[in-house]
Every structure is written in structure tokens, then in C-alpha cells.
Symmetry: C2
DNA sequence: TTATCCAAAGAAAACGTTTGCAAAATGCTT
DNA sequence: AAGCATTTTGCAAACGTTTTCTTTGGATAA
């Protein structure tokens, strides 16, 4: 049926072992033989069977990507951009990426077990870790190579690539403060994600540092952004003591929030200033363009893949926890408060 | 090292073949044996080695996804949504998805060859086909199962899942016409993609049908949307005979275009109406919300995966070319022209 | 010339499954 | 109780590689 190493061996007049050695650039093989074998490979259009190869070598040249569970997360362009970075490095290192989706926690663990225990991948990249994450426990239990994109609260010493989200939120909040805002709210995301906690903490630190009020009722949760929460939001904004600016956990949430503000009769940046995080492509094209903290998403993905592949191939790892820099990008959505 | 079928056999007191048969739900095996084997599997925490399995069975339970080449395409949320649909079906059918990125045409073909000839996948989903697409030729040449998401101009009979993009553009244009617009432009995308051609054609048909002018100089190409094309765009819009509305090839392009209009001093929808395609999530949150043709992206991905997996498993295929319905979603970006 | 060494190539086992065929066990007739 | 049909199970080959161990053969040194 399909051309194997044996066919190549036959045509080149050598043994299968020799062909295999040519394939893996074995040093002790004569140039003449290499040429013969190479020619035969081209002539027959040979391509190695990766299944057979990894059966014996126990390496699949593949990394696994555990997909975010929720639709919102998955559809966030953040995710695409991170993937782009991951693919860029993986491709360059001749690795492929295996993905497997899940609709529930249960399915998620199953999919991961298929990957790990079925030996389909050499390592795993895990995105957006939760505060208590069973996936991490599973991975640790199997002693399987993996890298976190983000950080774990429970295990400080895992391989991970992350931003300093506390500092990022600190900077974002200070940007609003330096514009003259005194009453600054926070729009939150999924409460069980580590990144949510970190950014909230940075926001808090900045407020405390500037002796400004940190008020629980100015922290807008997910429920308030749904259709049902619209009333509560309007109510809050019509108080005389309403916030004049918000730090928003994420660009996509910012899009939705700006829209809601607009429908409640508040203009950005005239009535309310906004600064968010991630700097996805569309923030620049939005109306108004959104001020946001660029966390280098692509680079984040790239470095994560790099770290994982280093780990897999047993290269020495200089630094287990990588913290990449961020950069505030000021655009039209943040302005000094109206006097 | 890791637990194999032999270990299970030993513990259960049967032969490896029997274990294998239990694994694949072979009919002729006694309930008692099945129970014994199942227990042993649980006890040892057995998971089949997929590499070994697919080496002999020649099926990988994996489908390949050929990624779009350009950054813009990859980052388009359209892509995420389509992936979500693909994953949904694949997951349900117990298939995994292997992706492999490429930076150039050359790399793209290489990556695909690794997938096909390395027998890593059972079939391939190919997105966004070009007018003349070497990838399709390659796939055909190897007689490898694949499904197009979109359609091929050169091969009418391939398996594919698509919208009626001509009709979709026809509807979008007619929407603007019915609002009273007489001068309608078109904002195009990559000229070598089939979808671009189809939507342009639908736009043309609607104009001709309504006896409105179809003018080449009102068709805005990619180059005009870049920074350098800004001047040309402004120039065109300050003509007395300027278009009062545009059909835009794609939501993301629409975002950028609206931004450019805004910077040139034109408001949407007051000065210019916009209708685009895809209905990605953010169009609803945009300011103004964008009128767009919903083509059911998720469903598109879902059906594509379904068709491919049907093909792979040799199930009868009732219809080789699936055309899914679309639906115009009118939002704030399209309004009657100012009088 | 012969013994020694080293580079280069080959033989064969192994990786963890599936599966066709043969053997064993079971149940049914007589 | 033996013979036969049928169900259930086991044996062994195969899938396409890699890799350890051996063998081959030519070059070098004595």
C-alpha cells in the first residue's frame, strides 16, 4: 500500500536499519550510502509513519492544548492570539498541536486522559488555570510534563509563563488616577480564575496607594453584565457618587460594558473612562479605541510553547516561572473626568 | 513502565487478544470474561496506547485542520467560532483535532504532508479555499478524505459545506437598497479567495437587479484600507457622488472600515451605512452595533466535521455539497440615507 | 603476511495493539 | 456417552519503526 522504510531499503540496496539511521542523521554512515538512500526516498516519495515511530521512540512530537471550557473564553480573541504564538514556536520546533474540546469538567478530564495516558502527546499546555484546578492535580499525579499559561495559586513551583497581573492592574488603575479620577470601579470576570483575583488585587493596591476609596459595590460582577443586571447598573450610575472610570478585566468584557453604558445613556470617554487588559486587535478599531494593557499575548503563547518543548526535550531550564512585561496602551476610552 | 494490554490480560487471567476484544466490544465474548477484564482494567488504571492501536488499525481517530495562512485570517473570530463547531462534533464522535501551523505556502504543504503521509490523521478539514488552491490539488492527488469549508471553483463535486454567499450578498445589498440607498459601494477582502468573488457577485446582481450603478471605483480593495490608502478613501468620500452605503466583506474588516470612516469625519450610520457578513459576537457589542448577515458559523464548523467523519467512517453520504442558510441581522449600522 | 582495530552496515528484537485462524470449551443431539 | 455444532478463547503474525548487538570488510601496524 504505502511506501515504508523497507521499500526504501530495497531500492537503495541497504538494510532498513541503515535507512532509519539516515533518517535520524546518524553520524557513522558513509556519504555514499546517505546519498543512495536519500535518492531512493525521493524516488518513492517516502514519508515516515509517525505512529510507528512514536510507538518505539515514545515521543510523539506533539503537544496537547487543553481548551478553555466556556464558550466565552474560547471565543475570546485572546485565545486565538495565544494559539498563534504557540503554533509559531511549535511549528518551528517541528511539533504539532493536538487539541481536544470538552463541554464539562468530566469531559475535560477524559479528553486529557486520552491525551496523556494514550500517549498521544509529549506534554501539555494548560490555559487559564482556576483557583482550585483538578486538571493541574491530575497532571501532577501522572507526573506529566506541562506548562501553565498563567499561574497556580496552590503550587508556586510549577513551570509557567505569566504576566505580573497585579502590577498590570496597578498600572492601569494608576493611569486613571493620574488622569484625575477619584472614584474608580472595577468590572470583574469569572471569580474562580486566578487572573481575576490578581487584577482585582492590583486595582485595590493602586486605590489604597492613592488613598482613594475601594468599594465593594463598585465591583461589577458577571451577573450585572447580563441582560438581567442592566437595571442594577443604571441605578449605580445615576448615584451622585458614581464612579467616573472603570478598570475592566478584559477587552471583550470592555466591549460589552461600553455598549451597556451607551444604552444606559453614558458615553465613553465623556461620561465614563475605561481601561482594560490584553490589547486584542479589535480594541484599536473600536469606537472609541480602547485604552488597554498590552500583555504581549502572542509572545506569551510563544514562550509557553518554548518552555514546554524545552522541558520535553530535557534541556536545562534556567527559570521555571517566566514573567513577561506588559505595557499600557492609552487610546480614546480614557480621559480626565468632566469637571 | 506503563500498563499494557498484557498486564490486564495477566491480572484478568485471559489472553491479550481477549482484552483487545473486550476493548472493542466484540460481540462473541462471555459476560463473565468481560466483567473480569473490565475489573482488571480499572484496577490497573489501563488506558490503550493510541499509537500502537492506530499502527495496526490504520485509523487515528483524529482529524486534521489546515490553518489559514495569514495572521489576519487566523485572528478573525470567525475562525474561533468555526473551530468551536468542529470541536463540538469531533468531541462527540470521540475524535481529536490535530492542527499544524504554517507561515508560508511551502510550510503549509509540508505540514499537510506530515499529517497525510505520516498517517497522523484520518481526514482533513480545509478552510477558506482559494481560487486556485495547491492544497486541494495535493489532497486530491493523494486521494485523501477531506472536506472543504467553503467551495472550490475548480472542482464542483468535492465534499463541502458552505453558504450561498452570492445570495447572502444579494440580500445584504438589497437591505441597503430597500432603505433607499442608491449609491452603494463594496469593501473587498483578499481577491484570491472564493468567498470574496461570490459576495462581490451577489452585490453586483442586486445592483443590476435594481438598476443601480455598479462602479469599479466604488469597490474598495485591501490596499485602500491600509494606512497608505487613507488619502484615496477620503478623496472618494468627498466626491459629490460618493456612496452612501457599503457592503463589507467581513465583520472584522467592517470594524476597521468604520474606524477609518470615523477618522475621515464620517459617522456610521448617519453619513454612511454599513452591512457586513458573519455576525461574530463582537458585532453586537460594537458602537454602533453592526448589521450583518449571520451565516451560522458554529453550525458551519459542526456540519463540516460531521461530513468529514461520515466520510471517514464510510457511512453513506446523502449530499456531497451542503449549503447552509443565512439570515440578515439588522442592527444600528444601517439606516436610510440622509435626505 | 597476519593480527588488530575501527568504521559501516545488517539482523533481530522490541514497542502495544489488532485480527485471522485454530483450539478449546460448552451445549445439544442422539 | 459419544459425536457434533457452536460459542468462546488463545496463538501468532502483522503494523512500521528504532536500537542493541553482531558481523563485515578495509585500513593500519607489527
Amino acid at each position: 500500500m504505502s511506501v515504508t522504510i523497507k521499500d526504501v531499503a530495497r531500492i537503495a540496496g541497504v538494510s532498513p536499519s541503515t535507512v532509519s539511521r539516515v533518517l535520524s542523521n546518524h553520524p557513522k554512515i558513509s556519504p555514499a550510502t546517505v546519498r543512495k538512500v536519500r535518492e531512493a526516498m525521493v524516488e518513492l516519495g517516502y514519508h515516515p509513519n509517525i505512529m510507528a515511530k512514536s510507538l518505539v521512540s515514545k515521543s510523539t512530537q506533539t503537544i496537547g492544548l487543553v481548551l478553555p471550557r466556556s464558550v466565552e473564553e474560547f471565543l475570546n480573541p485572546f485565545f486565538s492570539e495565544v494559539m498563534r504564538g504557540i503554533f509559531a514556536f511549535a511549528n518551528q520546533a517541528q511539533y504539532d498541536v493536538l487539541m481536544s474540546a470538552a463541554n464539562s469538567r468530566q469531559e475535560e478530564l477524559e479528553a486529557m486522559n486520552r491525551m496523556i495516558l494514550g500517549r498521544r502527546v509529549d506534554g501539555i499546555i494548560m490555559m487559564a488555570p482556576r483557583k482550585k484546578d483538578p486538571v493541574i492535580e491530575q497532571l501532577l499525579q501522572h507526573d506529566f510534563p506541562f506548562v501553565l499559561l498563567g499561574r497556580s495559586l496552590e503550587h508556586e513551583d510549577l513551570l509557567c509563563v505569566n504576566n505580573d497581573n497585579i502590577k498590570a492592574a496597578f498600572d492601569a488603575t494608576n493611569h486613571l488616577i493620574s488622569l484625575g479620577h477619584k472614584r474608580i470601579g472595577f468590572v470583574s470576570g469569572s471569580p474562580d480564575m486566578v487572573v481575576t483575583e490578581d487584577r482585582l488585587e492590583g486595582y485595590r493596591q493602586a486605590l489604597v496607594g492613592a488613598s482613594l476609596p475601594y468599594r465593594k459595590d463598585w465591583i461589577i460582577g458577571e451577573e450585572m453584565l447580563q441582560a438581567g443586571g442592566f437595571h442594577a447598573l443604571s441605578l449605580m450610575l445615576t448615584q451622585p457618587e458614581r464612579p467616573t472610570a472603570f478598570v475592566v478585566i478584559d477587552d471583550v468584557i470592555a466591549f460589552g460594558f461600553i455598549r451597556q453604558l451607551y444604552e444606559a445613556g453614558f458615553k465613553v470617554p465623556d461620561d465614563v473612562s475605561i481601561v482594560s487588559f490584553n490589547n486584542i486587535m479589535l480594541t484599536e478599531l473600536s469606537n472609541p479605541p480602547i485604552s488597554t494593557v498590552d500583555i504581549g499575548i502572542y509572545h506569551l503563547g510563544y514562550m509557553t510553547a518554548q518552555l514546554l518543548i524545552r522541558k520535553i526535550s530535557g534541556e536545562p531550564i534556567v527559570q521555571n516561572q517566566l514573567v513577561l512585561p506588559h505595557r499600557l496602551v492609552v487610546r480614546g476610552s480614557s480621559l480626565h473626568p468632566r469637571t
